[in-house]
Symmetry: D3
Subunit: 292 residues, 6 copies
């Protein structure tokens, strides 16, 4: 088992810092040196490579990487044949998946994909777009966009296929969504051969569990409060969000401590209700990992 290594690809670039932070929460501390393209990680069984998200699935498929994290969109765009180990949660801010959408200027006459017959479309996901047009029986020119795609819709092409989470950048660019091609979330993928290797599979599965626990923890919080025992039943009944709380006895007679793990975005609606139900000393605390 000595010298066994798992080669793990992480997305380089805009997502890099967030990913390294998530890896740290999962228990794997990575430090990137500007002078070396091989980052340090405090696990002798791991070798980290930072590779553009667009390319990770390709290098997992080819076997250069045993596994990696990338988006469902790029696995599809590349048509990569890989084993999908797990899906991770959406971004914390929007709580929505990334969506690749067909867009036109707000005042464009284009109302549906059918109106794009014979037109030109710019996008970073050329293959996804061609497949989508074919499915819709539309013939149009699809050209690869090297960047600033949103600006192109107004002058250079008739439509674009672009990625968005909240839609606010599209709105700021005066673009209208015509259709959605694909909804994408981050995935942990593995090379098929690596997945067949018992040691590697075990390692990948453990990392999947820890990463899932770390990502889960980003959108969850711990909630703790005290309540009189007599009010407990009605509290739990009226608030299904508090499923499976840990209830512990307090030394103060007739009072219990209620503790639960809960979606962070629910808390803002829950706290007023908890107070109304008689809860006291409510505190919310952050989590590093949640493993059910």
């Amino acid at each position: 088992m000595i010298n066994k290594k798992l080669r793990f690809g992480l997305p380089k670039g805009s997502l890099q810092d967030a990913t390294i932070e998530k890896m740290a929460k999962a228990g794997f501390n990575i430090s990137v040196s500007s002078r070396s393209y091989v980052p340090y990680v405090d696990d002798d069984e791991l070798e980290i490579r930072l590779i553009r998200a667009q390319e990770i699935s390709r290098y997992v498929e080819h076997g250069y990487l045993d596994c990696g994290i990338t988006g469902y969109d790029w696995i599809q765009e590349n048509g990569s044949k890989v084993h999908e180990v797990g899906e991770f949660l959406f971004s914390k801010v929007s709580r929505r998946p990334a969506r690749w959408v067909l867009c036109v200027p707000e005042d464009s006459p284009v109302k549906s994909v059918k109106d794009l017959q014979g037109k030109r479309i710019a996008t970073e996901v050329v293959n996804l777009t061609k497949k989508y047009l074919k499915k819709n029986g539309v013939q149009a020119e699809v050209e690869f966009s090297w960047g600033a795609t949103e600006v192109k819709a107004h002058e250079l092409v008739d439509a674009i296929v672009e990625v968005t989470e909240t839609g606010s950048s599209l709105k700021a660019n005066k673009l209208r969504i015509v259709d959605e091609l694909l909804s994408s979330t981050p995935r942990l993928i593995a090379n098929h051969a690596s997945w067949s290797d018992a040691w590697k599979r075990k390692k990948i599965e453990t990392m999947a569990m820890l990463l899932k626990g770390a990502m889960e923890a980003e959108t969850k919080v711990g909630l703790k409060m005290n309540i009189a025992e007599k009010n407990l039943a009605s509290l739990l009944k009226s608030l299904p969000a508090l499923r499976n709380p840990t209830i512990s006895n307090l030394s103060l007679k007739g009072w219990v401590a209620v503790e639960t793990i809960i979606d962070e975005h629910v808390v803002r609606e829950l706290i007023p209700q908890l107070k109304a139900a008689g809860a006291e000393g409510i505190i919310e605390y952050p989590l590093n990992k949640v493993v059910y």
Copy 2:
């Protein structure tokens, strides 16, 4: 209720990142795009506007904003007629309010405001300063300072009215405080009409509770320790800071777990005392929200 919106003003500029972080802790995730002046927030009932702290009270008064967060100083400077919903805690670092003070160079002959008769004063808060001079029966020229006010006291004017928390910037500029005009803390304010609207008032009150909970949490921590039951009474008696702890039974006979929420800056004095009183395994953990 559908389409009901609360328009909420947050301070733009140097306080912006800290405010957005506080809003996130309160449960409202905001993302600011450089391409749009309307930030995204993950609550359909909210519309966020980022406006200079100096101007928020004005736009709340005019009704353009339903409510907003700004300093007591700028409400006074603008003379805005608004409903004050709540006051928030002081800054974490200094644990002191912002103070607008009358300053002169260390070696200035000016000893009191009376010595400023016929002189010139530079400040960003022209109205506050004029009112202060009037109250003191002093006639002096007050001019609006576009910035770098501290430097002006040495050459351009006879005195300045400037804001300070710790006084260290004044000391570094060799300035002496002559008098204090106003002590200011952040406030949540509402337009009077909005406050009369039941739906808006409910929404504002909920947000006030959550924001207060989040800000409270910044200066508080959770403290947890184990102690032999026989030492518990004397521990609690000698340490009034530990008011209302949650005491839970441990499976280990004769021992209890004591948990409490406490001002962070007290901990540094408390921990040595706790150890002396027989506490073991003391841990301090961070909080996101504290709602009593």
Copy 3:
């Protein structure tokens, strides 16, 4: 006791932000102004000075500072006669001490320090290097390096003595480690006279306890889970890492909550075992301080 002050030196420069963050976790909030070289701290009994790590031990020895935090390496390099109050933990990422090592280019003929007879060595720690050569009976020229030492090994000198944690920067520079001169961790040191002063010593000891608690907390986490009472014994037996957990009764009959403080880097191996042993609802949460 009034006006008693402890003058405390913290390392300026690359470690500055991390140190100020640690001080804040220990309960001492510091704010550095670009206009003043005396930082503000929210404790009237403290005076903070930011000084290069290389010089702190010198100014503690001379009595200008009562105490300070610096590395063991620079205490040795300066030959400072100071009282060592405590040693702190290694860096979070590598969990290894800083090591000063003798390095040569990968393809250098130098295999041991003996091969450096009559050669030239560049380093920032001239005294340590000279002492090391003397101990090994080697005569070589040692010159002070003003920076970029790693590059010099290839062209300007025959060997270098440089500091490393993970060795990855050396590897990226194609350097080979020949020997290790010194392993160094951060230390809290005090001036001998200050240490004899009862008030100062008490203050230093309290700060040492709080700082140690804060640094300890950086490499530890809280772990909490529920388990059926019948599985508890076997869980605890099979997992010695869970030493001294706090076990509290749940209101749900037959179930207990197990809570413990544990090294963060152990968690990644522990969680799969906990799940296998029947634990449910495992959460990991961050800590600010851990004081045993």
Copy 4:
């Protein structure tokens, strides 16, 4: 004459670097230290002060500064009684003066200033705007804008008064110009008493000449070419832009060298005409100063 000093105010902030560069071209080298608010200048008869452009005319009027460079707009806004020594050229890029204009959203019903009766206007130039409204017999509320004025026109107020050169920022913000209040260029102004002092006036006049020479040089270039003597007359006749060229004899018989100083933006139309007229070896070179 010994120890005589002229106190000269230069605009701080966004125009600072450009102004210091212009001063250098005029022959006065200034270096600004972050640690001192008094910049170094290599002329013992000068004392430089960097002050916000908005405030310079005020401090010249009060006599704190002998003279300074600021915009005509801020002299008017402040109503400063100062001696205007000279006017400088427009910005190089747009070759247009700064214009303060009344703007509304593109789709606003406001067509003229008359439509603003009873409305609210935000601006940095409150006095100019009030005077303008009065002249037009319009009563409207004018409020000081602390920044980001262009965004306010869409939501917070009915109109803004903002400064523009090329209009492209207004266009990008979907604003329409309703009227122009003031056209402004940079001015060198002097305190009336300083202007009456013979030594100071002489010094100011010399600096005015050198600064004018340096600014002039930014929009001019040197142009040099060879031409057969027989073609010279028709060249000069057809190209009035080439007024007063320096014509020197070449050793090559029948050929002369023509050299002139010319507006840079004319060159792009002139060069094709020069080639057509028989000029050869045309070169354009940069200038530091032009004094007629």
Copy 5:
């Protein structure tokens, strides 16, 4: 002619500032606003668009742009059918064209393109690479590289096709050049229809002349010196680099002034020779434009 516009594409990104500077030297002042994607230019007959160099030829071909500046490499990669108006000079630093080269790690067994049969190659110029392989009768997989191509050669693929000027980045990455595919310089290209339009063609030709003059001027300097008439002939004879100098008579009898325009990189060899030949008061001055 009123309202006639020429739509001109300039490369966005890393070359943007240099290009805008060159345009300014050519006489066209452009200012880019972060709030607008249409830059301001001080010529009413021009409309500037900033577009990635990789895409310019495509949008010129489609007619969206009348003309633009891009590299020969991207015209070829895109296979764009455009009119090539002119070629510009190489970069000032290296005085060499950009070269797309086939590279492998220094210690790779690959010695010629033939050795790549059945291998994988990463590159940004997929079409150029495929054409090159076909010409050489080699079948290999070519994949689009999203960046950091140089690093890939060591681990992810068998070879890369990358661009280089001086080769020093390849050397730093321990890569060996196997073959050169294409040598590329900047070109001014025009849409065929625009080129047929008399007004547009005239405008394009004028701009080509001015841009060429400006770029030429970057690698040339003016050189001026005095010499005794008797030494002139031998000076000119022995120094062919001084072709076509302008020789003017000085008022000092027997002396002439010699002035010429010359490649800047020649000056460093020329000046010692000039001094040896009796030249005095040699000065070199910068140029904005050179039009022969």
Copy 6:
């Protein structure tokens, strides 16, 4: 002669960009890659190394470098035995050499070096300071300062030895100059053996001439004007600064063109005099090189 190389050391760090710019003006274009420590230079006979100014003389002495540019101060501090080829001009802004001065706080009782007997001094130039003390018969402790030396004078030591040009940073730090130890200008130095090699010496001398020409040009400008022939004699007589002007005949009868190279800082006094003497169309233009 093929493969002959001159290894040339340039100062790395704060002076790096200015030095590379000067080298470019001298005719040697250098480009520094972040990925390589060997910069590219467009001269096959040169090898550039960027080394800290403090260390260059040491590596020239050891023969690793053939020559290099560094300050006279560091040659002295290192006691390096090197051949001094040439001295360059002072900085453009201050037109003064760098001076190493002994400083104390403004209110220190120390009036002369004699008062430092038994005290402590911090400095970056330990050897220079020790030699200076010895020469003055003073015994004091000299300690190496790792930076921020100016701040130390107020608290950590009794005096400092620090470098200054204009003295304004010392003044801002409230320091008083007690004595000057050394005045330093940039020097081109060569290794003695390299200087004995004919090829290397020739190459060094040529570079010295070109660099000197380039640096000279930074503080000089070209001045050109027209004047009526009858006024010429009195102009030249009254203005000795105009030594050795080039006077050429104009085609306009009775007028001549006067051209000269002159110290830039003289121009500001000269131009008013020239105008008074009847000169017209005065222009000043920048220079790249001046070789007498």
